[in-house]
Every structure is written in structure tokens, then in C-alpha cells.
Symmetry: C2
Subunit: 197 residues, 2 copies
DNA sequence: GAAAAAACCGACTGAGTACTCAGTACAAAA
DNA sequence: TTTTGTACTGAGTACTCAGTCGGTTTTTTC
């Protein structure tokens, strides 16, 4: 494996676990085995390393997204929603470092002044919310999900699932036992209830 | 106002807006008008400033909590839940700096190695979740909320509301338009539905 | 196999960091 | 009036930081 790839991979882990500011180039050099000069040969600045990490992460997430929407077929929209929630939780385990990174403040602060960073972040988050929105729209088409604004509902579901991921990543609460309750809550929230009047 | 109070107040703002690490003692000294020596006369370390901020924040939140539970009377549990959600959003505006601070990673990282910090954080978050839990329990007693695990449901509602606050603090989405949808979603999620079989 | 190019090295730089300390100002106590 | 104690000062300290630079090794090209 080339040094550049090693640097990107190790930087991702360190930025995720310790934060961008709290990871020094000296530490990155030591962990990768590449001299500090080598790191700055491949990347102009420390920030550029972060942006390249985010770029590959975006491509990664987008390909996972198409893999999910193409391969999986669901009977109802509400089942698709449960599949989407499971998919998000599955991804958060598969790519734990990325999710740790995205739960830090640095990416958002950088996004405020750096359009490239903003674009990457938007792509990633739109991708996630889109999946939930598609599930709502599908459910409303087949009658399994009641009438409600699709995008807003998708955002609300996203906050719930991402909150669960946060509990899991920070070890704040046994997320496993919360998962069943979360899907049940979503189901009650979304279900198409016949009007009783 | 004494210099010590000014230091605490300004440090709170800077830690919230720029982060703990990204706030230097030189900047804190300049902004407060107190010499760096003065800051270290009142506080042994930079971390101690943060811990004292968190301590007063805890006391603050706990007194708001009792104010909410004592003064407000609700007809049903589900109305109490809506009141609790509004209360949380109201607090997040009233004490924006504190909520910005609590949405950073530093407090949680410090909590992992510092029991004092952990205690303060636990007190604050338990306080919030307790309000939601009490609403669920009250609703189950009066029949407005269906049978579901109270604590877990409270945690799920917390992730939703805190997610909305995050949207608002980070300016990610027009939180005002999401609020109505959030309360409606919670209502659907919690409502006691008669069994139709 | 020589020349050119790309990859790599680590000592070095200067700006910035949290924190120290000898000393000042000033009010209350003796 | 003298002493004592508290709030305060800012230059100084040892250290860390991202980024540089002159030079060496490895790979590619012809």
C-alpha cells in the first residue's frame, strides 16, 4: 500500500477518534511511518487531508446508497422504512470511523467557510434523508403510510435514527435494546390510521 | 461585576462558539479585559474554568426543571409531553450558549476521564429525559398515551427534540417549520389507539 | 545504464500554547 | 501608621504546532 493511502486511512481513524485539532502531524507521521515531509509532499495542508477523506467518504456513501436502492425490494413503504433504518445502523457499524467523524463539530464549522466541504457534507446527508423520504413516498403510494409531509417526516426519522447511532458511538445507552423500540415508535408514527369519525 | 464572573461568562460564550481547544487563554484575556495572570489566579487550569461553567449550568438547569414541574399543570399526559417539548425548545433559545456547548464533543470526552464532569453531564441529561418520562407515565395513567416502555420512549422523544435543536443551532434546516411536524409525529407515536381486533 | 522524475526523509522554523511568578495597587484590620 | 491579605498584572517559560527545505532514495523513461 502506498504511503498516501496509508496516510489517508490512518488520518481518518485519528481524526475520528481524537478530533482534527487534537491530532498532530507529528502523531500522524509516527502512526503512518511516513516522515512529516512526506505527508506535506502528498497534501498541501492538514485541512486538505481532511477534505480528501471527506471526498472518498462521499463517494463511498453514494455507492452504498445505490446498492441499497437497487438491490432491495420491499413489499410496502413502511417495510422499506424499516429496511432504511436497519441500513443506516448497519452502515454506522461498518463505517464507524466515518460516523464518528460526522458527529464531530469540525466538519460543520469547516463547511461554513469552505464550499467544497459543504458540498461533500450536503451530498452525504441528502443521501441519507433521501432514503427515508423515498420510503415515506412509497408508503403513501401503497397506503401503508398516512398523509404527512414526506421531507419533514424523513428529517424527523433521521434525527431519531442518528440519535440512536450517537448513543451507540458514545456508549451513552445500550443502543441494542433501544432499536426495537425505535422501529415500533416509527411504525406508530407513520402508519396509515383509518379515520374513525 | 467582579473579574471572576466576567471570565466565567465570556469563557462560556467562547467555549460554546469556538470550542474549548480553539479558545486560547490569550483570547480569553483580551476579551475579558483581565490579564492572563488574573485568570490563573482565579482558576488553577483552563479545564477548571470549564468545570465551573458546567457546575453553574447544572444548577441552572435543575432550577428550571423544578420551575417547569411545579408551576405547570396539564390536563393529559400527552399535553404534558407537548409542554415538555416546548419547554426544551424554549430553554435551547434562552440558554443558547449552554446548548451549543453541550452539542460539542469536548464535554463527553472529558466526562470519560473526569468523574466531576461526568456527574454534571449526567445530572443535566437525566433532568431532560426525566421530564419526558414523567409525561409518558402521566399519559399512561390517564389513558392518553398507549402502553410502551416509558424510559425508552422518553429517550426516543429526546433524540427527536434534541435533533431539532441541533438543526436550529447549526442553521441546517428551518427548525420553525419542523416544530409543528415534530409535535404531530410525537402525538401519533404516543397516542393510545383502541385495539381494532 | 544514464538522466529525469517522483517519493521520501527529518531537522528546522517561527508562531502560538497553557501556565508561572515576582511584583503592584488598594482596602480593611491592628 | 503600619501590617496584612486579596485581586490583579504582564513579561517570561518551556513546550507544541503546522508547515518548510535541502537533500537522499527509489522508480520510471528513453
Amino acid at each position: 500500500m502506498k504511503k498516501k493511502e496509508i496516510i489517508l486511512q490512518v488520518a481518518m481513524q485519528l481524526f475520528a477518534k481524537k478530533g482534527f485539532k487534537d491530532t498532530s502531524m507529528a502523531e500522524l507521521s509516527k502512526t503512518t511511518g511516513a516522515a512529516e515531509g512526506t505527508i506535506f509532499y502528498h497534501f498541501k495542508t492538514k485541512q486538505d487531508i481532511f477534505l480528501e477523506i471527506l471526498k472518498t467518504a462521499k463517494e463511498d456513501i453514494l455507492s452504498e446508497f445505490t446498492r441499497f436502492t437497487e438491490n432491495r425490494k420491499f413489499k410496502t413503504g413502511i417495510e422499506m422504512m424499516e429496511g432504511a433504518i436497519s441500513f443506516y445502523l448497519y452502515l454506522s457499524e461498518l463505517k464507524e470511523d466515518l460516523f464518528l467523524l460526522l458527529h464531530r463539530r469540525y466538519p460543520f464549522e469547516l463547511a461554513e467557510v469552505n464550499p467544497v466541504c459543504r458540498d461533500h457534507l450536503e451530498s452525504i446527508y441528502n443521501c441519507f434523508v433521501d432514503i427515508f423520504e423515498q420510503a415515506v413516498l412509497a408508503g403513501q403510494a401503497d397506503g401503508s403510510i398516512g398523509p404527512m409531509p414526506a421531507r419533514k417526516t424523513a428529517l424527523i426519522v433521521f434525527t431519531m435514527v442518528d440519535g440512536l447511532v450517537r448513543f451507540k458511538l458514545y456508549n451513552l445507552y445500550d443502543a441494542g435494546t433501544l432499536f426495537d423500540e425505535l422501529t415500533a415508535s416509527c411504525r406508530r408514527m407513520l402508519e396509515n390510521k383509518p379515520v374513525t369519525v
